[in-house]
Amino acid sequence: GGNDTTSKSESGELKVGWLPFAGLGGWQLALDKGYFEDSGLKVKKVELRTPADVVPNLLNGTIDFSALNPGNLAQALAQGLKLKIIGTTYMVNNDMSILSMKDSGITKPKDLEGKKVGLIQLQNNNHAALLKTLENDGVDVNSIKFVLIPATEMPAALRSGQIDAGHVLYPLAATMAGETNTVIENMTEPYGEQPVQAYNIVSAKFAAENPQLVDKLRSVLARGNQLASSDKEALITAIAEITGAPEGLIRTSKLPAFGTDLKIESSQHELELMTKYGFLKDPVKLADYVDES
């Protein structure tokens, strides 16, 4: 089994499970501005590829903290995996759209009926939100075929006509500007304004053994997010650093929002929707897993 996370001495190095998402802009700023050092913390990035990799690495101590979306988080908690929420990483900011190619003739949700739609993950909170949006528009969702397409291949799949519409992430969406129609502007609309897209997560064991460390971490990450929400230029630089995309491209992309509110309520609503569509068996109460300072 995994190595032990015996209590980290206060001087110990923290390992962050890093994902190449713009949503980690606040964290990047905290790193760049030396907020960790200010609190006497040292951090090391461990690069991960997908949110699913976060949990096992947290549990076996390869990483100490990371970010996880509410859907995956709920699924993990429902399986009895011991995790704690210690803050908000970032929020959706009208930045998740369904696009189609200009010449496809698909311009509105109704046009998607009987078509193939590419998603980067199936049966998660975003998928549930999309279904709800479509239903709200009176679309027969059963006639739509949702297919899994790797995020990086979404533009290619659209261009070659293998899918009719799809969820294109930033900054890739920006590279397709001019080629596409926006079929659905904001697919997370059913979750309200700026729902939380990822929470700061630690393992329950880590939280129990290092309460002071967690407190420090919480405040450092909050400081980063505050800067991210107030200083757009700094944020763009940070995102450029994370994704490697040119700043110009980022400037033309929609960007996520940063804040510190936990918004557990709206997340709980997401879980209910997921349960409704059968993506989640057990809508755990997220509030029970928040690690209060």
């Binding site: 089994g1 997908t50 949110p51 699913a52 949990v55 096992p56 549990l59 995956n72 699924q75 993990a76 429902a78 399986q79 009895g80 995996l81 993950q121 199936l122 049966q123 998660n124 075929k145 949702f146 297919v147 899994l148 397409i149 790797p150 990086t152 291949e153 290619a156 799949a157 261009r159 070659s160 293998q162 899918i163 993506f279 989640l280």
Partner: protein, 259 residues
């Protein structure tokens, strides 16, 4: 009579012992990823309903079967060609070695764009990945075929085609079969990767979605099923091998039994 029973008994002994050990050792496990074997078995039964088999097992098996069959044919055909001609081998080496070292993940985009997500793409990727081990082994086996035997056929004016089919290929058969067996693992791996990355159903999809929703029990069910599918494919290959290489087994086992 007893001899007949001892054979299967020895081959079953190790797996039975291992499973028993696993069962006992895992019984009290509390680790979230290492479930007690009893839970895994329960999960396996729950997961693999008829419906689930149709949705997730069948497409994968079909893509695997088609892709593998294509790989066997193209692998042997090209392998024989390359084994026979030093010049073709030399001229194509940069290309074959280059393609052979392509990770399937890097090829998914091309498959996706050309064939679209689905079984056709999966089968094509399987065919691609599984061809190489067969090709390499076949070409090596053909090169190693005994000269005296081939010269015999040549002298008797046996046509090139018959010489190939009746002398060179049978002589290369032990190597070819080794390649085919290696290809089984490559094929299963590839179909799972393709499933995971760009399919909305299938065994790989089941595992990845179980993983993403942290359903460890279902992950294990998927894993076991993958092992089973692979084993069935291997058994088919082994059966084919028994038919094709029956002589070889007798030939070699005979002297091996001497003290």
């Amino acid at each position: 009579m007893i001899k007949k029973l001892i054979g299967p008994a020895t081959s079953l002994a190790a797996p039975v012992t291992l499973v028993a050990a696993w069962w006992i050792l895992s019984a009290g496990s509390t680790s979230p990823y290492f479930l007690p074997l009893s839970d895994i078995v329960d999960g396996f039964q729950q997961t693999w309903t008829t419906e689930r088999m149709e949705d997730d097992l069948l497409p994968t098996v079909r893509a695997l079967g088609v892709g593998f069959a294509v790989a066997v044919v193209t692998g042997i055909a090209t392998g024989v060609a390359l084994g026979l001609s030093a010049r073709a081998r030399r001229d194509l080496r940069p290309i074959t070695e280059f393609l052979r070292s392509m990770p399937v993940v890097a090829l998914v985009p091309i498959g996706l764009v050309v064939l679209g997500p689905g079984q056709r793409m999966e089968a094509a990727l399987v065919a691609f990945a599984a061809t190489w081990p067969i090709l390499v082994s076949t070409s090596d086996g053909v090169r190693a075929a005994d000269r005296v035997m081939i010269d015999t056929a040549r002298v008797y004016g046996v046509s090139a085609r018959r010489r190939l089919l009746r002398v060179t290929i049978p002589a290369a058969m032990p190597q070819v079969m080794a390649g085919v067996r290696i290809a089984v693992a490559a094929a299963v791996g590839t179909v799972i990767v393709a499933n995971m990355l760009a399919s909305s159903s299938g065994l790989g999809y089941l595992v990845i979605s179980a993983q993403q929703s942290f359903d460890i029990q279902e992950t294990w069910s998927g894993l076991l099923m993958i092992g089973l599918v692979g084993s069935v494919l291997t058994c088919t290959v082994v059966l084919a091998e028994r038919v094709l290489l029956g002589w070889h087994r007798q030939y070699r086992s005979l002297e091996r039994t001497a003290p």
